[in-house]
Symmetry: C2
Subunit: 309 residues, 2 copies
């Protein structure tokens, strides 16, 4: 059987990169031949993680049909968040913790989704179910992914299973996860050196909501007011991106990872903006919304929008 | 939390009924409050099974929104195979062994799919993973579902895991599965007493293939030539069903469960018939195709059609 490729979503975050590495390793231990690849370069946080645990970054691909017939998806399932030529290959496995949408197969497959904080939490369960030992380095990588997705277990997406996984993986990795986690999160929040165009694209996902193309990006920071001094720059970049990519609406969630607060900047169609305003029951002022306590795109931003659209 | 309903697909077969009963029991053991229901009356085979293991048939419902906010699906995921008002409720769990299509949620959920022969095989794994004991009666029901879906482990959908599950469940149920299985399969093949309209609707599923509405029914028999003496009756009923329900094409697979052969009767749009002919690389003669070795709609009938459409 030809080698299968395993990959996470476009604009990969730490979980998208790590889950591919961890699931590929697990499948290889179980007897398949797989390679973890990525649909983009690691971000600053992920670079910190890979450096810390001395793990090379996965090879970056932008199409898959030329090198594999079969693939496994981690940390995503929606076609628009995946490789461009996904239709040309067969998806045999998915491990994910997101809603299911814009996903279709011709044949039965392995699909493992759970409503937990991180794909790597599900992978931790899979290693245990298959009684495959988690090497120290792999435990560190998976721990990092869970810390990243749950903002050190503070996001409302966090479940008891994530907490269990963090405790178990921290022990296997032999790290103090609180101390390590803060360093890791801060490594991902250095926005000063980046252009607005880079920042609004680094952790951005496209959604089809009621037939409208909506882009939702998130930037993690440790100083919200400082980040908002660049609001004009962000808006210009968001409008440009709408124009270039056909998005009708661009939402940028700027999240303080220490205080768990978000300010959302809005650019695009006025009628759709009204729906955003309704979704969060708040007037948009100076093109922004205040979302105290909001840190999770998946759990606190997408569902009210989905409902409204 | 309000009671959740658990159900299999429309036109329920043995797995659709049994998997709902077995998954509901498992979830209740794990602390949730659920009830197994069905989207139709049990067929002859399922009646035999329920009688044999003295299990009452689940309550039949035709809509769900008036009695539950949250549901769990077993043995299906495609909206057109489910309850009519599925959109009005939240799907929190799916356990299935089919392809994924026409399925979308607003939020993350538990989704467990594996490409095995029967949903009840996956449930057997889930009981084991959660270390929940399978009562003798439940083992008998789950065993019956696997025998039904795999035609006594002879269908090409059968995997090693199905074989393992059958061995383990037969021991727990204390039955000789070969002997019991033949009796059970034969109980489902008595077509003489039924009208053509009943027979073409008993195990029928709707598919959207390339925008075309296609109905695929299957009848299990032990004597193919005898069944084909009623071909004209079947064709009339299929044409009537096309007209009444807006199907463009109706395919009826008549399968000999002892010899593992199928004859497929075709009714509907000529252009679509040509695609069926191409899918199976065979001329349609007297409105039928010979499909030796074919017993599985999911594995041997739907995929070539899907490819062609």
């Amino acid at each position: 059987m030809a080698k299968q490729l395993v990959f996470g979503h476009l604009n990969p975050d730490t979980d998208a990169i790590v889950a591919a590495i961890a699931y590929s390793y697990l499948q290889n231990q179980l007897g398949l031949e797989t390679e973890a690849v990525a649909l983009g370069e690691p971000n600053d946080e992920t670079k910190f993680v890979l450096d810390y645990f001395q793990q090379p970054a996965p090879r970056v691909i932008d199409q898959v049909g030329d090198q594999a017939q079969e693939v496994m998806l981690v940390d995503h399932n929606e076609a628009q968040q995946s490789v461009a030529d996904l239709k040309n290959v067969t998806i045999t496995h998915v491990v994910d913790h997101h809603r299911i949408a814009n996903f279709e197969t011709a044949a039965p497959l392995f699909y493992r989704a759970e409503p937990v904080g991180c794909t790597s939490t599900i992978l931790w369960k899979l290693y245990n179910e298959h009684a495959i030992e988690i090497p120290q380095k792999m435990a560190g990588l998976m721990l990092s992914a869970i810390i990243s997705d749950t903002l050190l277990l503070k996001s409302p997406t966090t479940t008891d299973v994530d907490r269990e996984a963090v405790t178990a993986l921290a022990r296997l990795a032999a790290v103090d996860y609180q101390d390590y986690g803060l360093k890791m999160l801060k490594a991902g929040t250095n926005i000063a050196a980046k252009s607005a165009a880079e920042l609004i694209d680094a952790d951005a996902k496209s959604f089809d909501m009621g037939g409208h193309q909506i882009r939702i990006a998130q930037i993690n920071v440790v100083d919200l007011p400082e980040a908002l001094t660049r609001q004009n720059e962000f808006e210009t970049a968001m409008q440009q991106s709408n124009q270039d990519n056909g998005y009708e609406l661009f939402l940028l969630a700027i999240t303080n990872v220490l205080d768990s607060d978000t300010t959302m900047v809005v650019a695009g169609d006025e009628n759709l903006q009204a729906k955003v305003s309704a979704a969060f029951n708040q007037q948009i002022e100076q093109n922004r919304l205040q979302l105290p306590g909001v840190v999770s795109r998946k759990k606190q931003i997408v569902p009210p929008l989905q409902e409204q659209f």
